[in-house]
């Protein structure tokens, strides 16, 4: 599902955020990405989302080489990858329902279909009753769950998360991680960047470790 081969990422200011990164993730696999602050976790996820481009090497997602994707095709590519952010990036000027509906709306789904899927996604994260509220009216954990609902509403085969539990207490964090595990159980490939080592160690998933932009431990595969 996901394959990095000798990927370098150098930012315009000359900083080398990733060096010679190679690893792959099987379809339906779930893995954590860890490392110190500044190790390059977010950078790696941004490459998968095409928010940044690799300087060297290849990133292949779902069999497609990302360097072959033209700027104009990026939106269509992104519709197949769900992303959850640490600060969830919800839009506060619209309802929970409208936030979750965004990925479907940009894809041009019809309103009836949108309604069905949004409610299904909200139901999965246990917040169906809050669809009419705005994100401000929700707690931090609830906001993050809305962010997850938005990421999965169009059933992407690949789900990415960058520090999804960064702002949450341990109990809430565990709940969130359980949600990701649920999605993985129904076949979604999941990659979560996190430095909450304690939480990660409680879960039976592969852990990829980055250090100074290099993979020092690829987990078990490769």
């Amino acid at each position: 599902m996901l394959q990095f081969s000798t990927v370098d990422k150098r930012y315009p200011d000359g900083h080398e955020a990733l060096k010679q990164v190679s690893f792959s993730l099987e379809r339906g696999e779930m893995a954590f990405l860890t490392g110190h602050s500044g190790a390059g976790k977010s950078t790696l996820l941004k490459l998968i989302m095409l928010m940044e481009r690799a300087t060297r090497g290849q990133v292949i997602v779902g069999g497609q080489n990302l360097s072959a994707i033209h700027r104009r095709q990026i939106p269509y590519f992104r519709r197949h990858v769900g992303v959850v952010f640490q600060n969830h990036r919800l839009l506060f000027d619209r309802s929970v329902y409208d936030n979750v509906a965004l990925p479907l709306e940009v894809a041009g789904s019809n309103p009836r279909e949108i309604g069905k899927r949004v409610r299904a996604a909200l139901d999965k994260v246990g917040l169906l009753s809050k669809e009419k509220l705005t994100p401000i009216q929700l707690s931090g954990g609830e906001q993050q769950r809305i962010g997850i609902a938005r990421a999965v509403v169009n059933k992407p085969p690949l789900l990415l998360a960058d520090e999804p539990t960064g702002n949450l207490d341990p109990a809430l964090s565990q709940e969130i991680m359980k949600l990701f595990a649920d999605f993985n159980r129904v076949g979604v490939t999941v990659l979560i960047a996190s430095h909450d080592l304690e939480l990660i160690s409680q879960m039976p998933y592969r852990v990829i470790e980055l250090n100074q932009g290099r993979i020092v431990d690829p987990g078990y595969s490769d």
Binding site: Q73, F77, R79, V83, A107, E113, I114, P157
Partner: protein, 330 residues
């Protein structure tokens, strides 16, 4: 638009995913998005009535001036059209030509194809008229002979188009031995025509400059709106919003500003015309013209609204083109 999706293997594996529904449902989604976005833009603008009214007013005022000049021009054209047909040549005959000879000449000239009508002005009658009209009996009686010549009033045939053709006719008539000189009262028509064509250019220039001003005003307004919605734009791009999708709200915003502006321009134009109506009527009357001020007709109103709305769209499009690509999610 959704047909441009790259043939992605990922896509095949999610065939049951978000875009699985047929083309008619995709079309429905597309139109429902347009409807939703236009409603949202409208609501957003009416939620800030003062700011919106100000922007629309600025656009409206910028549109009023060229509209009024356009109306002025079309009135001149209409008036000009009437006067064109009434260009007349006055032929003054030699002093020695008698009444009888003059009548004969009149008959002869009436047969010409390029002449539609000839009126013979007898010099004795002309002197009488002169006397009664200006109450100068004593002065005229003092003259021992009539100083006025016989005159013929020639109305050129309507097949003669334009002042040059009429001038040519006058030259031919002047060459006749009985004719001393001719007078074409069309010179001022020509002057008016050159003034009109000069005015036309002025109107075009002013319209262009003001259209540019409208574009700049709108561009700035839309730029601020984009600035205010940076996060929303970034998120839309992250969840797979295409450029047209992300642009759409701003284009609708521009169109609504343009529409509001042109509606204000229509109202202002009617107000200005109402104020100007009386003095123009009076002026026209003093020239004994049955001149009728033509206002902003239905067609022009429609044109103004369409033009204003299109201008709004264009302003927004230019702003979006410049500023939207700068916003990339980080």
């Amino acid at each position: 638009m959704s047909s441009k999706r790259p043939a992605s293997p990922v896509k095949k594996k999610v065939a049951s995913g978000a875009q699985a529904s047929g083309p008619s449902s995709a079309l429905k989604g597309y139109f429902s998005n347009h409807l939703k976005v236009s409603k949202l833009s409208f609501k957003e603008q009416t939620d800030r009535p003062v700011a919106t009214l100000l922007t629309c007013s600025v656009i409206g005022i910028a549109l009023v001036l060229p509209t009024l000049l356009m109306i002025l021009l079309s009135n001149i054209h209409a008036a000009n059209f009437d006067w064109d047909g009434s260009a007349q040549i006055t032929l003054f005959l030699e002093q020695k030509v008698t009444s009888k000879e003059a009548v004969e000449l009149t008959r002869k000239l009436e047969n010409r194809v390029d002449v539609s009508r000839i009126e013979f002005l007898d010099k004795d009658k002309a002197l009488d008229d002169f006397k009664t009209q200006f109450q100068l009996e004593s002065v005229v009686d003092f003259l021992d002979q009539n100083p006025l010549p016989h005159a013929l009033l020639v109305t050129p045939s309507s097949t003669l188009k334009g002042v040059p053709a009429i001038e040519q006719l006058m030259q031919q008539l002047e060459a006749l031995p009985e004719v001393e000189s001719g007078l074409l009262d069309a010179l001022w028509i020509q002057r008016l025509k050159s003034i009109t064509s000069f005015l036309e250019r002025v109107v075009v220039l002013i319209a262009l400059m003001l259209a540019l001003a409208v574009l700049l005003i709108l561009g700035n307004t839309i730029r601020l709106a984009i600035e205010n919605r940076k996060e929303e734009i970034a998120v839309l791009k992250l969840v797979g919003g295409t450029r047209p999708f992300v642009c759409r709200p701003f284009l609708y915003m521009g169109m609504l500003y343009g529409l509001g502006g042109s509606l204000i321009a229509v109202i202002l134009t009617h107000i200005v015309l109402a104020i100007l109506y009386a003095p123009i009527e009076a002026l026209a009357l003093s020239y004994q013209s049955n001149f009728n001020l033509k206002g902003l007709g239905f067609d022009s109103t429609l044109l103004l609204i369409v033009f204003g709305t299109a201008l709004g769209w264009l302003g927004a499009w230019l702003a979006v083109r410049r500023h939207l690509d700068e916003i990339e999610p980080t």
